[in-house]
Symmetry: C2
Subunit: 186 residues, 2 copies
DNA sequence: AAACTTGTGGAACACTTGTTCAAGTAGTTC
DNA sequence: GAACTACTTGAACAAGTGTTCCACAAGTTT
């Protein structure tokens, strides 16, 4: 075991995390070698050492965020109750607003890089796989509506809260609970 | 009538249109005074003359796009048939893919500029106003789903076509045509 | 035609950018 | 301890950035 590589890997991860913080604060356009290095507390050249280019750094960040997003989204979907789902959505556009905004900026980045599409879309594929919906069309609508509600929540004058979202989520799943998850083992 | 102002206004508009083309091609991050000037065929200093800053130029572009988006979206919604709606959506993520991508990038820009939120959100407000839905919750779901379908269509490996979207749209509006527009006069 | 307003556009400024380079340190292997 | 590898980091470079400045042309008004 090489202790140097271990520390290197840790630093690499720290740089990616710093990049995400920069995106949360200033958007994708705020990401430069220098801003990331400053945020991570490393010298300017560190990001270039670990990532071939700025683009590679953004890609690495998207891939990492996509994993986390996957977990979060599946958590949201897995909750049976519309109130819990509404609560998760409300948190995404309020307390976690910056994070959600960053995620969608990276999301759109995938629209311009074909090689990133798979990663950005992964939570959708995984959701279908995990839930195994009886009615695929209804489920597809449900997933689209989540994205729409989040993105519209981000540009609302005042972001919607749990109580406002609950009836909407309820409408989405109630009556048609043909895609509630099949007792997801944990 | 001042002929100079008229030509100036025309040039101003040309610069905004060039900006949109640059965003379609290279994204918001590709927008610089020089790239826009080159695209518009004007000297480098022209954008600065007409817009106080690069930011102002982006804002003007968003405001202009928002108007067009408004028309497009209302057109989509106003069509009664699910096939026609599906067809419009399919066009947005295929032939007009670049344009749609640009619109969503500007959309997210509004997430970071409170003063732009109203413009970005305008088509939503207008839709509610025009359609006057009997069931506001169902309509809200419909609008969210449109955004979700479009954005997910942008990061799909191959963008969905009319035939794939039709059943989804149909599910969204059929059975619940309580928000079909009240004979929109034309 | 004189005074004005409005638009034009090249030169230049200070600054930030991504990236390279080379000299150095520290950990690992033999 | 010598050879090797992995990481560190400040200095530097060329390229591109937003923006300012200013002399000037072209319309409009009086």
């Amino acid at each position: 075991m090489d202790g140097r590589k271990a520390r290197g890997e840790k630093k690499r991860r720290a740089i990616v995390e710093a990049t995400l913080r920069v995106i949360e604060r200033d958007g994708v356009s705020g990401v430069t070698h220098r801003s990331v290095a400053r945020e991570a507390g490393v010298p300017t050249t560190a990001p270039t050492y670990y990532f071939a280019s700025l683009d590679d750094l953004l890609i690495a960040t998207l891939l990492w965020v996509a994993e986390e997003l996957c977990d979060d989204m599946l958590d949201i979907i897995a909750r049976g109750s519309s109130r819990e789902i509404a609560s998760s959505l409300a948190r995404a556009v309020n307390e976690n607003r910056a994070r959600t905004l960053a995620e969608y900026e990276l999301y759109l980045l995938a629209g311009r890089r074909p090689e990133l599409k798979a990663a950005a879309r992964r939570w959708l594929d995984l959701a279908v796989e995990v839930v195994r919906p009886a009615d695929p069309v209804a489920f597809r609508v449900f997933l689209a509506a989540i994205d729409g509600l989040l993105i519209q929540g981000l540009i609302a004058d005042v972001a919607p809260n749990e109580d406002e979202l609950e009836p909407i989520v309820s409408f989405l799943i109630c009556g048609r609970d043909d895609f509630t998850p099949p007792a997801r083992e944990q």
